[in-house]
């Protein structure tokens, strides 16, 4: 795990095993970061769920549970948002090829709702291919708090 600070931005990178337990670990890391940034409890839950689904996707479909592949989790805290990047070392996929889980003919499918839920629970989701291999999910959740006149988030005790 490495950490660097630049101004108001803090990024923490973790390398997680390709196991389902990593989804729990990632969820806890991200929920703690969201809590520190001042997200409300229900927002912490949504961010945590989105990251859990992203890591499960990376472990199951990306790295196929390989003990030789890691899931990279990068959590970056900005004054107005939380950015989480989840990257695997898999073969990649075309997100446009995924069936719509809300279509009547797909409603009773057992699977296929993970990415849909991620999109529902964060403000932005970008799915990119990585070179030479892998896929990364970039999740952004904005604080709904207003910034003060200096463009900064009011500190604890100064919030309205």
């Amino acid at each position: 795990m490495g950490e660097n600070k630049s101004g108001e931005t803090t990024s923490v990178v973790s390398y997680l095993d390709s196991t389902l337990e990593s989804a729990d670990v990632a969820e806890q890391i991200v929920m703690a970061a969201a809590r520190e940034l001042g997200f409300r409890e229900d927002e912490q839950y949504r961010i945590g769920m989105a990251v859990r689904e992203s890591v499960v996707n990376a472990v199951v479909h990306g790295n196929c549970y390989s003990r030789y592949k890691k899931v990279q989790l990068t959590v970056s805290k900005y004054p107005d948002r939380l950015l989480v990047v989840v990257a695997d070392e898999g073969k990649g996929f075309d997100p446009k090829s995924l069936p719509d889980p809300l279509a009547q003919e797909n409603l009773l499918n057992q699977s296929g709702r993970g990415i849909f839920l991620i999109r529902a629970f964060v403000d932005e989701l970008e799915i990119r291919r990585r070179e030479p291999a892998g896929t990364e999910f970039r999740l952004v959740k904005y604080l709904d708090r207003k910034l003060d006149s200096t463009g900064m988030v009011p500190r604890e005790g100064e919030r309205q």
């Binding site: 389902l20 989804a23 839950y45 769920m49 859990r52 689904e53 499960v56 199951v60 889980p101 809300l102 409603l107 009773l108 499918n109 057992q110 699977s111 709702r113 993970g114 849909f116 839920l117 529902a120």
Partner: protein, 114 residues
Amino acid sequence: MSVRLTTRKVGDVTVVDAAGRLTLGEASSSFRDTIRGLVSKGEKKLLINLGEVSYIDSSGIGELVSAFTTVTNQGGQLKLLNLTKRVQDLLQITKLYTVFEVFDDEAAAIRSFG
């Protein structure tokens, strides 16, 4: 943390009381095995009490859907009881509220099976 499942009979309805987190892994497998076990014993009226389920992920939702189709395909009925706000929200955004019959009163749910 995983899911705890206990079953009880109320008349001819089998109530499955679930508690904990219904997520991918042991929890979803345990839930699937419980439902299949009940169906294999000929239980056709299942009421899943989710009142103590604090968390469900997409896999858990998938298990609920799979349980619904398994029971329905056997000519039975599967209904849901006591959804938390978070689970309600999940069923709303996935449009599954249109699939499941949902109750917040156990007696009314039991009566609905007829």
